[in-house]
């Protein structure tokens, strides 16, 4: 699942500046007229608020053992028989409120996803800028690595990073660094899709007169790159990044589900589904289905917004 294969056009080099495009694309106008995008944005906003202040939003602190009791385990969602008004979506096998578990779980999932994407952006933009600006063998080597990397599915890279981390930290102690391992895996598997458009844009800009002029005036190279080239690739990075985030959240959930990701003591949505998996056919289906549904809604919202951004910022596709 190389996200670079998403049908996103990011040959950014040939485009006008982002401000111009933003205005021309009437982003706001489009947004107001697109109910799906609005709904997605609202849902994402809710997830973001809940993730930033879970202690306030969540009815219970899902991972504070003093706030749940085993006696409350396996309570059904409120519309089913065997429910308890304290827990709207029921409780899991430890007596944790499902809503709270999802809020805290989505927080971990989103954190891992965002941090992973951010890392990929940082690596990708830096590599693209340097490759494009320096050129020569640096460019050749970077782009060859990118080519090779693109053939490796993200999940395999994640598995390899995971394997190395287990080797480095010992199987037993690996759990403590699991979140960072995942972030690293997402970052390392996704940077190529940013590096390519950035390099393209840099190649175009590098030959412009103002760059030569700036160089002569003694402005350091990185200053030029950041100031003039970055704005041109920002929209591409934004669009790719949104779709990458969706991919990253799914990747995290998938790895956690098979036990290669976040440990159960620090539940993400994937871990919650893994825990619920054991109860899928024992009557307590909600322990798996509720966080699963939340995951699908979250990813769907990100994708909807990604689609919207792509269409809105890329007038040719309208």
């Amino acid at each position: 699942m190389t996200a670079g294969n998403h049908p996103v056009d990011h040959r950014a080099g040939q485009r006008p500046g982002w401000r111009v495009r933003l205005e021309r694309s009437d982003l706001v106008y489009d947004f107001v007229r697109d109910p799906a995008a609005i709904a997605a944005a609202v849902i994402l906003f809710a997830f973001a608020v809940a993730g930033l202040a879970p202690q306030i939003v969540a009815p219970y602190h899902a991972f504070d053992p003093n706030q749940f009791r085993l006696q409350d385990a396996f309570l059904a969602p409120i519309w089913l028989e065997g429910s308890d008004p304290r827990f709207l979506l029921g409780t899991d096998d430890q007596g944790r409120d499902m809503i709270s578990a999802i809020i805290f779980g989505a927080r971990v999932s989103l954190f891992v996803g965002l941090a992973g994407v951010l890392l990929a952006v940082l690596i990708g933009v830096a590599a693209g800028l340097i490759a494009g600006f320096v050129g020569g063998w640096v460019d050749a080597v970077t782009m060859r690595i990118a080519d090779l990397q693109l053939t490796f599915p993200a999940i395999l890279i994640a598995v390899m990073v995971d394997g190395i981390s287990r080797a480095a930290f010992g199987q037993a102690d690996r759990d403590r660094v699991a979140v960072f391992v995942l972030i690293l895996a997402i970052g390392l598997s996704g940077w190529v899709q940013y590096a390519r458009p950035v390099r393209g844009a840099t190649l175009v800009e590098r030959n412009r007169e103002y760059v030569a002029a700036a160089t002569m005036m003694g402005i350091p190279n990185w200053g030029i790159m950041l100031k003039h080239i970055l704005p041109n690739v920002l929209t591409s990075v934004l669009v790719i990044g949104t779709i990458h985030l969706a991919v990253a959240v799914i990747l995290e959930a998938t790895l956690s589900f098979v036990g290669l990701g976040v440990p159960p003591t620090e539940p993400s949505l994937g871990t919650l589904i893994r825990i619920g998996n054991g109860y899928l056919f024992s009557g307590e289906w909600w322990i798996a289905i509720v966080p699963g549904g939340a995951l699908v809604i979250l990813v769907l919202s990100i994708n909807l917004l990604g689609d919207f951004l792509r269409d809105a910022l890329n007038p040719r596709l309208k």
Binding site: P65, L70, E81, G82, A172, P264, F281, G283, W285
Partner: protein, 533 residues
């Protein structure tokens, strides 16, 4: 608690139709029993892997000198009888006219070879035969076994020793179990040749193992099943779905949470038995400071009061009720009923009392608790992960700062327990000989690798008085005397709170209504007792 209806008329109808079709086909139709299990048998070699699933599957093809009857008393299998010639000498009379699957006759040389084979370096059954000094073939159907020391559980141990044909072993170059270090496949990993009621027909590791009825079997079977298909399905919901949808006929060791749903299903029958396995937490009492944790340089678990506080903080009844859904028996001791040395009085619970636990912690000098890591396997015992998550929450509720560390069993044993590198950990002990001696000797005694004492003593417990008491019990051949001595040993263990006991496990097998199974409490699936209508 609501339980969604599991009625599905179309499926029920389908099942009836299929069953009807089979019945109409008459007695000539082959009866196939499809078994689903959590894990596959690791090998077809009878002496290579001391794991219950492997032993169960192999027992359909291979047989031992001794077996157990339905009352679990020791009974003749390949031996028709035995007598004690002296404190260290036993004579076994072997069953005549028994043939291996390849047609070769069974005799004393096969027994001698099998014992030697199990004693070889690459065998995982060394511990079962290490006390055997020599075997003497008296005649073709008589063999003497000489032990190094008097051995009260020799017969129980021999119940695990499957007999392989000597000529077959020679012909296929498998006189020893496979040496994994040699990096070679050996013939006996994928092939089997025993005297048992079923013959290996095909073997696809991790997928399916097919056995067919041995037409020349010497013994009797309760059922008349022609073919057995053994299929591992590691994912719990997938396995349950396979049973419910009629793809398999029998599932061993059902996770407790699935029992109620299956009970409500008219197409499924359940068999329940108390297992010879007790779950409990153990502590590192040997280290001077916590290996994983922080208690100001000390090891609080060396203090009986702290161990008692843990005991009081764990609500084993709530764990049994909620996590185990009632399919377990809460207990205050580590030895399961039915074992020699079991004392019903010790089953009394310490009681759940978080306030008393806090008071004890304060009294021991830890009013604010301390931090430590709780190590648990996540694929070893029934609901082990859930038990540990519940226990970690309960311990946190009395002020202990617990980090839970869940691992697959290979890592759990390999990286933590073997290295004696765990501060508090979950154990589940199953006495293979229905006798408390084994657990006391291997888990409680001070570790001495030479003699095999304390090889499972991951707590690094060392109590010389207790060691002496266990030695004395071990040397007592008479069952009554050993029983009383062991009771005293286990009483002392309980009084010292060396462990925090949770529950005795309960085994639940689920099957289609036409299948009949009698469960052995050591989770050994005895195929001779399985019937199918």
């Amino acid at each position: 608690m609501s339980r969604p209806k599991t009625r599905r008329p179309p499926v029920a109808l389908l099942a009836v139709t299929v069953a009807g079709a089979l019945a109409m086909a008459g007695p000539t139709a082959a009866k196939t029993l499809r078994i689903g299990a959590q894990a596959d048998a690791g090998t077809m070699d009878p002496h290579a892997q001391n794991i219950q699933t492997t032993i169960s599957v192999l027992s359909m093809m291979y047989e031992a000198l001794v077996t157990r009857d339905k009352s679990l008393a020791k009974a003749p299998q390949l031996a028709t009888g035995w007598e004690i010639l002296g404190p260290n000498e036993w004579r076994f009379t072997l069953r005549p006219d028994v043939k291996f699957h390849d047609g070769a006759a069974f005799g004393a040389d096969d027994v001698a070879m099998s014992i030697a084979r199990a004693q070889s370096e690459t065998s995982q059954f060394k511990g079962f035969v290490s006390n055997i000094a020599e075997t003497r073939i008296v005649d073709d159907l008589t063999i003497d076994i000489v032990t190094k020391e008097p051995d009260p559980v020799l017969l129980d141990k021999l119940g695990y020793l499957f007999i392989m044909d000597k000529d077959w072993a020679d012909a296929n170059n498998v006189r020893r179990p496979q040496d994994l270090k040699e990096k070679e496949e050996t013939y006996s990993v994928l092939n089997a040749n025993g005297t048992g009621p079923y013959v290996l027909k095909s073997r696809e590791p991790d997928a399916r193992t097919v056995l067919v009825r041995n037409a020349d079997y010497w013994g009797a079977l309760d059922g008349d099943i022609d073919e057995i298909v053994f299929q591992p399905i590691s994912s719990d919901p997938t396995r349950i779905a396979a049973l419910v949808s009629g793809q398999i006929d029998l599932v061993t060791a059902i996770p407790s949470q699935n029992v109620a749903g299956l009970e409500a299903n008219p197409d499924i029958k359940l068999e329940v038995t108390d297992e010879f396995r007790t779950l409990f937490f153990a502590f590192d009492v040997g280290s001077e400071s916590l290996q994983h944790g922080d208690a100001g340089g000390k090891n609080p678990f060396q203090d009986r009061r702290v161990r008692q506080a843990v005991n009081l903080a764990l609500d084993s009844e709530a764990i049994v009720r909620t996590v185990m859904r009632g399919y377990a028996t809460p207990t205050g001791q580590i030895l399961a009923p039915g074992n020699v040395g079991y004392d019903r009085e010790l089953d009394a619970l310490s009681g759940y009392d978080p306030e008393a636990a806090k008071a004890l912690l304060a009294e021991a000098g830890y009013p604010d608790g301390f931090a430590f890591t709780l190590d648990c396997p996540n694929n070893r015992y029934i609901n082990d992960e859930q038990i540990c998550r519940a226990a970690a929450a309960m311990l946190a509720q009395v002020g202990l700062d617990v980090s839970l560390n869940l691992m697959p069993r290979a890592v759990y044993f390999g990286e933590r327990l073997w290295k004696r590198d765990s501060t508090m950990f979950l154990m589940g002990f199953n006495s293979p000989f229905f006798d408390g001696t084994y657990m006391a000797q291997t888990m409680v005694m001070t570790t001495d690798e030479e003699s095999g004492e304390g090889i499972y003593n991951y707590s690094m417990n060392s109590d010389l008085e207790l060691d002496a008491a266990i030695r004395e019990a071990r040397g007592t051949l008479d069952v009554e005397g050993r029983h009383r001595r062991l009771q005293a040993v286990y009483r002392s263990i309980k009084e010292n709170v060396l462990y925090a006991p949770l529950h005795h496990q309960v085994l639940v097998y689920a099957m289609r209504p036409n299948v009949g199974v009698r469960i052995r409490p050591d989770n050994w699936l005895e195929i001779r007792w399985v019937t199918m209508d």
